[in-house]
Structure formats: structure tokens, C-alpha cells
């Protein structure tokens, strides 16, 4: 018979098919990395399309990227890197049992993600206003290139898919805040925070490539 002790480790989270918390944590993290691999290949298809069309129409990319505002692209890069920092801080707080710090850092991350989406919204709105829409809906005549719509199809697909990932990230972090408030997380169990963090950093990494590839062509 095991004696119940006052300092007994909390093991509510441990599923019966794992030996211990560490094995469960490592298995979850491995699963997340496999998912991130599929994400990289998912975006990879779009990056491949970008590269093929840039090789075909290099002058189009030069002309069309002038419609994108480098300043706001750069601001959004700073915002996302900042949010990666706060997510890393949130994980650190969870590891140190600082649940208040965890919740605060998650809220800051959610706010930064919202700032990103608001800036993105104004960028899209400005383009749609001008008739810069993807594919056949393109009706802007400010770019002297008959294939101008192709650049913007690629632009909308890449930034749009990335934006959807940001929105999903916001949803996941709101869910984490609720879980944290219910005192689910502690230094012995913070797996959802860790793997959401991995996801969020990947979204950041994708933007790190999108920013120079779309905005910084001069």
C-alpha cells in the first residue's frame, strides 16, 4: 500500500498507457513536430509556386511588390517576433509554476496576434478598394504588366493561409488561458502550452520568409 503524502506529485494528466510524465511529454512533442513537418510541406507548395512564377516573371515581382507597404510588413514582423518572445515567456512561467505569469504572457501574445491581424486587415482593405483581388477578379490598372493578377493570387494565398494560422493560434491561446485559469497547468504538466508554443513559433518562421519574399523586392 502506498502512503498518501502531502507532497505527492500531481499526476491527473498522466494517461495510463505512458510510463511517466516525461514519456508522455516527449510523445506529445514528437507528435507536434510531425504535424509541423506537414505544415512546412503545406506552405512549401505555395513557396514552390512563388519560386516558379518568380523565375518566369522576375520583372512582375519587382513592379507588383511596390504596391505592398514595407513599413507595415516590417511592423508586423516585429509584432510576430515579439509574440514569439511572450509565448516563450509563457512556457517559462508554466515551467516555474507561475500560473499568473503564464496567463499574462498568453494575453500579451493574443493581443500581439490581434494587432497583426488588424494591420493585415487594413492592408487587404486598401488593396481590395483599388480592385487588387486574386485571379480573375483583379481589376486594378496601376501595374504595367499583363500578369499582375498572378503576383496577387500568390500574395493572397500565402498571406491568407498564414493569416488563418494566426487566427487558429489566437483560438488555441484563448483555450490555454481558460485551462490555466482552471489550474490545469503546473511545472509537472504544461504540454499543451509547450506544443501550442511550437506551433506559434512555426507561424512566426513562415512570416520571417514571407516578409522579405513579398515586401522587400526592390
Amino acid at each position: 500500500m502506498s502512503q498518501p503524502s502531502a507532497v505527492e506529485e500531481k499526476l491527473d494528466h498522466l494517461q495510463h498507457h505512458f510510463i511517466d510524465s516525461d514519456q508522455q511529454f516527449e510523445a506529445s512533442k514528437l507528435g507536434m513536430w510531425i504535424f509541423l513537418v506537414t505544415e512546412i510541406l503545406f506552405f512549401g507548395g505555395l513557396f514552390a509556386a512563388y519560386i516558379v512564377y518568380r523565375a518566369w516573371y522576375p520583372e512582375l515581382y519587382l513592379l507588383a511588390s511596390e504596391e505592398l507597404h514595407t513599413f507595415w510588413g516590417a511592423v508586423n514582423t516585429f509584432v510576430l517576433i515579439g509574440s514569439s518572445l511572450t509565448v516563450a515567456m509563457a512556457i517559462r512561467s508554466a515551467q516555474l509554476n507561475q500560473i499568473k505569469g503564464l496567463i499574462i504572457n498568453l494575453w500579451i501574445t493574443i493581443s500581439l496576434a490581434c494587432v497583426f491581424m488588424v494591420i493585415k486587415y487594413f492592408e487587404y482593405a486598401e488593396k481590395i478598394e483599388k480592385g487588387i483581388l486574386p485571379g480573375a477578379h483583379y481589376s486594378y490598372d496601376g501595374i504595367e504588366h499583363e500578369k499582375a493578377n498572378i503576383f496577387f493570387s500568390i500574395y493572397y494565398m500565402m498571406t491568407g493561409l498564414h493569416g488563418i494560422h494566426v487566427l487558429i493560434g489566437i483560438g488555441l491561446m484563448v483555450w490555454l488561458v481558460f485551462k490555466a485559469k482552471k489550474k490545469v497547468f503546473h511545472s509537472g504538466y504544461y504540454t499543451p502550452v509547450e506544443i501550442t508554443g511550437l506551433y506559434w513559433h512555426l507561424v512566426d518562421v513562415i512570416w520571417i520568409f514571407l516578409f522579405p519574399l513579398l515586401y522587400l523586392i526592390d
Binding site: I40, A55, A88
Partner: protein, 100 residues
């Protein structure tokens, strides 16, 4: 092998500040107008350095199980295969540009 590396707050701030500086740098190099194709090479090189820093120190691959690192590297290898094999077609077509 420990999956529970705890980074100090100072270290995490250092990583973020390095990324901020590199972001500023990648914008700043466009002001000096490096000739083609080197402007693209510089932009991608800075992005690769930034992505490596995020993967190593924010995503903890530096301390993590080697297997996760191998998965990450393999995804990049397969992405490069996709791009490489596609370009072998699209770059060498007799009538290169389709109607779309």
C-alpha cells in the same frame, strides 16, 4: 536527454533582440540597392539565420531530442526536392510560359 530545458528570461530577451536587429538589417540592406541577384541572396540568407535562431532557441531544438531536429531538417530537404524537381521542368520548357 531532457525535454524540460528552462531558458532564463534574459536569454529569451537576447534571442528576441537579435531577431529584431536582423529584421531591421534585412530592411536596411534594401536601402543600399544591392544588384540582382545578390539582393535576393542576402534577403534569404538573413531569413534563414532568423529562422534557425527561432528553431534552435525558441523551439528548443538546441536542447531537444535529436529526432525532432532530424524531422525538421527532413521537411526542409523534401521541400528543396519539391522546388528542385519542379524547376527542372519549368525552367527548361521550350515554350516556357503557360496562359495562366
Amino acid at each position: 536527454m531532457s525535454g524540460h530545458h528552462i531558458s532564463s528570461a534574459k536569454f529569451l530577451w537576447g534571442v528576441a533582440i537579435t531577431l529584431f536587429i536582423l529584421t531591421f538589417l534585412t530592411v536596411a540592406v534594401t536601402w543600399i540597392h544591392i544588384p540582382e541577384p545578390w539582393n535576393v541572396v542576402v534577403a534569404i540568407a538573413i531569413a534563414v539565420v532568423k529562422a534557425t535562431i527561432v528553431a534552435a532557441f525558441f523551439m528548443n531544438l538546441w536542447w531537444d531530442s535529436r529526432f525532432n531536429l532530424i524531422l525538421f531538417i527532413m521537411s526542409i530537404v523534401f521541400f528543396l526536392l519539391l522546388v528542385g524537381i519542379t524547376l527542372l521542368d519549368t525552367l527548361y520548357r521550350v515554350d516556357p510560359v503557360p496562359t495562366f
